[in-house]
Amino acid sequence: MSYQVLARKWRPKRFADLVGQEHVVRALSNALNEERLHHAYLLTGTRGVGKTTIARILAKSLNCETGTTAEPCGECSACRQIDAGRFVDLLEIDAASNTGIDNIREVLENAQYAPTSGRFKVYIIDEVHMLSKSAFNAMLKTLEEPPAHVKFILATTDPQKVPVTVLSRCLQFSLRNMTPQQVAGHLAHVLEVEQQSFEPAALALLGRAAAGSMRDALSLLDQAIAYGMGEVREEGVRAMLGAVDRRYLFVLLDALAAADGPRLMAEAEQLAQRGIGFDSVLAEMAVLLQQLAMAQTVPAAIADDEPEREALFALASLIAPQDVQLYYQIAIHGRKDLALAPDEHAGFNMTLLRMLAFHPAHAQPDSVAAPRSNTAAAATRPAPVAMPAQPDAGVDGSAAARALLAGLGNRKPASRPAAQEPGTAADAEPEPAAPAPLAAPAPAQPVTPAVSAVSAVAVAPAEPVVTAPAPAVIAQAAPSVAADDDERDDEDETELDNTAPWDETEAEEAMPAYAMAEESTAVDAAPYQFDGDWGGLVTQLGTRLGASRMLAHNAVLKGWSQSRLELAVPDSFRHMATRDYQEKLKTALAEQFGHTVELVVTIEELGLETPAMQGARHRQEQLAQARICLENDPVIQQLVRDMGATLIAETIQPVQEL
């Protein structure tokens, strides 16, 4: 007799031999013992968890000559014939190759006749998800009310593809994935009986690689035995499985963070040589990036016993949150594109190169923020958004930031509310940084990757606070926390572990918000005083206006008091003045004023300047100014004069200042 693979040889023949699935076995055993059997069962679960096996054991239990029992004898002729696959009253139908209505009709036509030798006629319909729609529907009536001697057992990996009408007629059992421990335990048992030597560590690896499926595990075990010439050694299994740990991913992402193209490509080359599937590399990378994002936003969610915790946080401090998002997207898309590339290696390279291309070090300075270099810890509390930041508060952001930076450079301890605010501000305004001149183009890395966030806080204040732009950004963030920290010196340090890492991008953003924060603390004290500057108010409300922004921008203030505003909207914007926009505007205003405001909107032309018109005028002025600047530029004049260049005037665009 030729060799039979382990997965087939070790297919359980009794419920007692099954690994896992106690919940199903128990329900079935009780049903069998009390003879309260349903006529149709549906077994679902991933590959190799025991669907077909349970179906066959159930068939044996039903037909065993010792009576309907949860423990079929395995010795009577019915049991033996079922094991050998030639019992006349067990019809195992491969629904994946017999998909059509005709196949099913043929089967069901015979259902009415009594069983030949057994007690029940058992229909096992495997891979049932592949049946055609009409085949499913043809089954419905019989499935609902079969003759007393008929039992249906359907099995599938994909219950979503089974129509609800079928699902509702069946008793559904979903089989669980095996845990790695269960798998390893069973493999050990198999190997002991097979008399093969093994190392437990090797089985643990196989258990993990099987990803919840016993058949996968046994197929792998077969492979491992062949690979190790009859022995299952950890080393051999590790080599056979290829990448079992994720170390290479950290190397890849580290090279990516450092924008080190050659190292990245060398690593990819190595992966190819080790025969690791690029598809799985990208999948794993996406998982790791997801963990990184989690480490950055909800550090507490990373389990303490996570094996690569240290490395994870070190990496999280090297890559900016928005870059993590971007890389994640690229990795996901890269997997799809892998099949379209000239070959897999090229596809993988291209995905990595794409990540590099959008790396801050390569991207144009105005499109992406500068590389982050340090995780200075921000406010420790998961601060709720108490007061949304006001990003365009009419203040020149960069100037404010610079002023503040200077202030911080003198180590003036920041006031507490201000120190708390940046985290909040960053939350409220997630979009990439404004083109602030502060963005440091070169990564300054005062803290080595191995240093965790806690020590980063400890180190940063010790850093000389320099006025040079790049490190100053980093340092400036730290003292504020340090100051905050000093005040709460007695509080335990574990809280610092939860620090939301933030980068200088956010720091820049935080600057205007910081200013605002101080302003708004003042505002909180005294109620808001409206001074009649509608344009200013609209800018201040900013994004809080939401959909009513158009209305606000195109309205003219006709009259006002502290509790009543009268707006006039030109006829061309009549559609913006509907009730729900007005309601929205009113809510936004009420928030700003601290009390409800009466709002009256009329449709009339007053010929006054609306905020929108004002903005347009500003732009026109800026444009004109920009043109004059360019035309008077000596270099350009020289180009025009000496080389016959022409200045294409309509392509000039003023730099938008926020």
């Binding site: 693979v5 994946a96 190759s97 197929s219 062949a226 099949a339 090229a346 390569h362």
Partner: protein
Amino acid sequence: MLFPWQLQDWQRLNAERARLPNAWLFIGPAGTGKLEFALHLAQSLLCEQLQADYQPCGHCKGCRWFEHGTHPDFRRLSPQTDDEEEGKEAKPGRKLPLIKIEAVRQVIEFAHLTAHRAGQRIVVVEPAENLNPAAANALLKILEEPPQDVLFLLVAQAAQRLLPTIRSRCRQFPLSAPSPAQALDWLRQQGVSNAEAELAHNGGAPLFDHDPVLAKLRSQFIDGLGQPTFASILNLAELVDKQKLPLAIPLGWLGKWLHDLAGLSLAGIVRYHPEQQAVLQQLVLRCDPVALMRCQDALQQLAPFGQHTLNTRLQLEALLMDYLKIFAGGRQG
């Protein structure tokens, strides 16, 4: 036939013969002789006078039948088979080549019959990725519990692209790719002119169609890409269109070129066009990586339609416009 780089794999495989699985899944990169390996194994299993090292003898009845493709205990499940049955050479891939469920049903029937020569019955499925979903599912039951003495040999480039249910039923056997030196040696033995460049262009995989006409066209195309001007781009599109090539071929060339361009500008590697290093170096100076990625996106969008009846010239021109933009940015800003 075995390739020189497969001898070790063959030894490794022979060690497993005592424990034959139901199904072997051979995995390895394209163009490294996976199919040949599987066929060699099939022949060896069907040979009636095995030589040393399990090599088939080549002159017994089984071997002769096998070599003529008429062995009654052998079936090959490939997308081409039904074209061959129709007796006409289908145009190179006007539609996606897929293995359909009818073919799988025939194989299931075949597996349930007894053998003609009292030995093994072998089914080779190649490439297993091309099983369409219905066909793949139909194969599941027979793959798991085939009748006595039936062996399935599946050949695939990446196991991840197969159904997990198929993967779980097979014993995987990774085949090694040749080292660059091995591949080069072999190519030289085959008398391929310009072996190094050809090998590089095929990403180190030594098995590819040598078509001198196509090779010449390719070098023209690459030269054109090396001088990105509006006029040369239009010429390129016309050139390709005249040859009535399917879109997939120039897309492949452009894809490789873009890969090298990106590789050189960002990481300093050139994989497919080492002989064009100098040209690439020049281009890299003006290259805008973001625009390059945009061009790559456009390419990728078009890639699934490589065998479609889209107007090749129109599509290629549009794509090459995107290619031009890679260098346009450098000049303006």
